[in-house]
Symmetry: C2
Subunit: 306 residues, 2 copies
């Protein structure tokens, strides 16, 4: 149903919007976030009339942030396809992202619930402020694991938390259940992003749909590198990278270092920790099929290869 | 009060947000749009507790669109200062614009009125879809005055209409008055943009804070050029411009052509028509100081030199 609703948005009557919009919405994303909203909304008053627009809005919103991120990073690929900025230029990407934000916001308005609306707006504040921090602090020496966790909360986990949180609110979940589902979403998002950042080093380029080490080439320090730095304080990888300005050969060397180090395992241990916390958050919830799906999702997030 | 509220937003506790944000918000804009909200809200239930946040949100939102526009156009200057994209890069401009959208949306949420919230979201849809049209159709041969009016409605008049319309809604104006104030805002915005587009040819670079002919250099066809083309079908100005790709010498020639033609007067006649329509829309409203200010504003919009 979410898919149908996305299609109806892509089929807008303005040719200059339709072309890039349908290009983005027809990309085969995993649709994890709208799935979370629907699952989280299934514990109490399960009402698809509000949950489907909410889930659709979450996916539209997510796509808006992806299109803007790619414009900011001047990315070439997204989900194995040429990125919007690469295909139509950065200007179109900026405006298409704004358009996606606006239709997602309007869709949330149509639900008529102030709590989800405000949660939605605050999530964009969180995400854009996190991305501002990342972009303005690229190649910063002060990056440590604390800062990394704050950053991935802002850029990923906050939207996961909004996805489950809005589902909970709309199903009139009691306060404790709402907090539990929000905590599940947040921790799942943290696990998801840590795994994403590891896959950027060990994943399969074809499956990932983007080149390896792309974060590093962008000057973004993710957990594997931060842990690697802690383990090899003598090898001033970062200083090297900074001096050589993201030199692909240097990046290739660092990718090899990560792959051959215990850092990968350590990252999976950390991601597993977040995933377990997500599962524990669900303990007090009614034991139904939806809960089982959320538990399965917490496993999938760790095991996925793309 | 709007100014104070803007300052409080600029004074956010995150250094990576504060610097570019306060840079934008402390620029001396004319604050026409928030003024419209306050004035439009003064005919019926005048309640500053909702009107001030609304007016502030309108100004934040306006600044978000400016920051994104400049990023899209790769503009060098804005209000006589270096544009955000030029100073910190396009990436920061994209994210700062998103941040501004998000805090404006959250501010609107805090008012707790669904009608203004939905109006707000729909205005962003209108603006971004108009800008998409403009950007994807730059140097398009099919530009005519009809298309021009649609475009300036999307990019300027829709926000003016939202500024007065939200003021009317929040003051619980009766339906007719709401329609009148919205129509006033729309027509004022049309007049404002037509004058803006003329000033791009005849204004003073120092006062305008940006170089002359900047629209043309961007490949944007505005009313003066469209009328000029109609008057000189033999002089294929546009084809020349397209072939020479916005050659500054060619642009300078066209600026001279516009200045020495009756096109300027014709544009002012058209702007005056919109301005009169704006004034006529106010005829049925209570005759108070606010109404007089709106009438004065309709004159100012035509007479302004920057």
């Amino acid at each position: 149903m979410v898919e149908e609703k996305l299609k109806s948005f892509a089929n807008v009557d303005l040719p200059w919007v339709r072309e890039p919009l349908s290009y983005v919405l027809e990309s085969s994303g995993k649709r994890v976030r709208p799935g979370l909203t629907l699952l989280a909304g299934r514990f109490y008053r399960y009402n698809l009339e509000t949950l489907v627009p909410m889930a659709t809005a979450i996916e539209l919103f997510h796509n808006a942030t992806l299109v803007h991120d790619d414009a900011v990073d001047k990315a070439l690929l997204r989900r194995g396809k040429t990125a919007v900025n690469s295909l139509w230029g950065e200007g179109i990407a900026v405006l298409l992202g704004d358009y996606l934000f606006s239709i997602s916001a309007d869709l949330v308005c149509s639900i008529g619930n102030f709590t989800v609306m405000s949660l939605f707006a605050k999530t964009l504040t969180e995400i854009s402020s996190g991305q501002l921090r990342e972009t303005s602090g690229a190649y910063s020496w002060r990056q440590d694991s604390e800062g990394y966790y704050e950053l991935i909360y802002s850029k990923t986990a906050s939207l996961f938390a909004a996805a489950t949180g809005t589902g909970a609110v709309l199903s009139e979940a009691p306060e404790e259940a709402m907090a539990a589902l929000t905590s599940y979403g947040k921790n799942l998002g943290m696990a998801f992003q840590v795994v994403d950042d590891v896959l950027d080093f060990i994943g399969d380029e074809g499956e990932m749909g983007k080149p390896m080490g792309s974060d590093l080439l962008q000057g973004t320090l993710t957990l594997p590198i931060i842990l690697l730095m802690e383990q090899h304080p003598e090898d001033n990888i970062l200083r090297e990278l900074q001096e050589k300005g993201g030199d692909p050969l240097e990046v290739a060397r660092v990718i090899e270092m990560v792959r051959n180090s215990p850092v990968v395992e350590e990252c999976y241990r950390i991601a597993g920790g977040f995933s377990s916390q997500a599962c524990r958050a669900l303990e007090g919830l009614p034991d139904n099929a939806s809960r089982q799906s959320l538990l399965d999702l917490a496993d999938y997030v760790i095991e996925r290869r793309k």
